[in-house]
């Protein structure tokens, strides 16, 4: 049997946006339930191996969240939801035990994931994402003495390089695909953290003991049982860097599966929201990276606005809209500065795997298809990641937008899908 809980407001995701939303709503007197798939709150950015290592803002918000009285269900993965007030989550452990939540208002704050693009060798072990490297550090991996190359795009490259170097890694390459002028323009207009790192990197031309190269991207990785070296280019000249780990990620993409499943309108890969963070569905709000990649400060203010709005206290804090506009400007500049160059579309060769779950190679895909045809004819996007890795890549390569989302939004034991009555018969 599934457990059952009721909440005036349910929040999916306990990263900065979800924490801010839940805290504000609970402080305004609402009964709030937060569901997150991780063992603890904070999301990818605030997750830390030792809580005392978390940044000050994180500790402040997490303490305020605890005081607010909002409830938190940890380690639970939402697999299905309906816009009339139900959602189902798989609880931790191997049993496939389910939790059904009835909600009055729903705030989605499911964040973003890394964008990966296929290139020869990207499936080798130890070729990972940039955010992945930080996640592994926080999960307890020692990078002491490992030779690391970091490449891709976006302001995350620099904090990742800094964290890996501080963890003892020998950083042999930091390569940003965006050209120098656009990165410099972006860095020049910033006051905050990634800006400072970027400014320092641009000023010195070096970072974490290695050169910070702009207008440079990985063209292939080579190895045997794992990656051994990576080839990179500035468009004119190719060089090779030896590495034990290659981190390559091309920015972030919003996790749109739940909003799409619930019928929330999207545009240009983001959830459309009004000034109260409400989606096209009454009673459903979105905050954070779902509405466009904008970083932790934008996520926090959007979360606060969504939490107050869901609690019926839209005008609870009049300073919030101005803060949101300032941060939204940052998001727009970010998107423009780190736009992906066309050369990245021709990295994959005919025999390069594009869908890693089903091992579908590029040559099996017909550019005239749509995403749905690709699934049916080649199985690309049909594996356990449900197209979360190849989807954004296929959209970049062929312009194939993701099609409809189906339940369950995550692989789950079959029993989790059955109705309670049916399962009662079989257990």
């Amino acid at each position: 049997m599934a457990d059952r809980l009721d909440a005036q407001i349910a929040v999916v995701g306990a990263g900065p946006a979800g924490i801010a939303a839940a805290t504000r709503a609970a402080e305004a007197g609402s009964d709030v339930l937060v569901i997150d798939e991780a063992p603890g709150p904070g999301g990818q950015i605030w997750k830390h191996r030792r809580p005392e290592h978390a940044p000050r803002a994180a500790r402040k918000w997490l303490e305020r969240f605890v005081r607010s009285g909002a409830r938190l269900v940890r380690g639970a993965q939402v697999i299905a939801a309906t816009s009339d007030g139900e959602l189902r989550a798989e609880l931790p452990g191997a049993g496939g035990h389910m939790l059904d939540v009835r909600w009055g208002r729903l705030i989605l704050a499911t964040g973003a994931r890394e964008r990966f693009l296929p290139f020869p060798g990207w499936t080798l072990p130890n070729v990972i994402g940039v955010g992945a490297a930080q996640a592994l550090l926080k999960a307890g991996v020692s990078f002491q003495g490992r030779r690391v190359a970091i490449a891709g795009s976006g302001p995350l490259l620099l904090p990742a390089a800094a964290a890996l170097a501080a963890g003892g890694a020998r950083v042999g390459l930091v390569a940003e695909q965006a050209p120098f002028p656009s990165v410099a323009r972006f860095a020049g207009g910033l006051l905050r953290q990634p800006g400072k790192l970027l400014q320092a990197a641009m000023y010195r031309g070096r970072f974490a003991g290695t050169r910070y190269r702009t207008g440079t991207w990985i063209t292939s990785a080579r190895g045997d049982d794992r990656v051994r070296e990576a080839v990179y280019t500035d468009g004119n000249r190719s060089r090779t860097v030896a590495c034990d780990v290659l981190c390559c990620g091309y920015g972030l993409v919003p996790n749109l599966d739940l909003p799409m499943l619930l019928g929330c309108a999207t545009s240009a890969g983001k959830v459309v929201v009004d000034e109260r963070q409400q989606t096209s569905q009454d009673s459903i709000y979105c905050a954070g990276e779902l509405t466009g990649i904008g970083g932790v400060d934008l996520a926090l203010v959007e979360g606060e606005i969504a939490g107050l709005a869901a609690a019926g206290k839209s005008h609870g804090d009049r300073s919030l809209p101005a803060r949101r506009s300032r941060q939204a400007e940052f998001a727009a500049r970010l998107e423009a500065a780190f736009a992906l160059r066309d050369e990245l579309k021709s990295l994959a060769r005919p025999d390069t795997i594009v869908c890693r779950c089903e091992d579908v190679i590029l040559a099996r895909l017909d550019p005239r298809w749509r995403r749905r045809q690709a699934k049916l004819y080649s199985r690309a996007g049909m594996g356990p990641c449900q197209g979360r890795v190849c989807g954004p890549a296929l959209e970049f390569l062929f312009g194939w937008e993701s099609d409809t989302v189906r339940v369950p939004v995550r692989p789950t034991p079959l029993a989790g899908l059955a109705h309670k009555e049916e399962r009662a018969d079989t257990t």
Partner: protein, 81 residues
């Protein structure tokens, strides 16, 4: 922090209570977590539960994501290859 062993394909490796299974395996120099449908070696890609490349069998339960599971004393992990 409490330190203990977990077993990967029968071999003990060091782990601690704050480490994920993926982290413990990486620290032990293990990079081959699963074998793909075409027979390639695969290991973690996203390390945040999205890509399913790090899936292993944990205490007899298949398809667990090593990056999402926290180590526990005596845990038995089987890779696929």
């Amino acid at each position: 922090m409490k330190r203990f062993s977990i077993f990967v394909d029968g071999q003990p490796i060091d782990a601690d209570e704050a480490a994920t299974v993926a982290a413990a395996m990486w620290n032990a120099g293990l990079s081959h977590f699963r074998t793909s449908v075409a027979g390639e070696r695969r290991g973690p890609l996203c390390a945040m539960g999205i890509c399913f490349e790090c899936r292993v069998t944990i205490d007899g339960v298949p398809h667990r994501r090593a990056c999402m599971e926290t180590c526990a004393p005596g845990m038995r992990v089987e890779t696929h290859g």
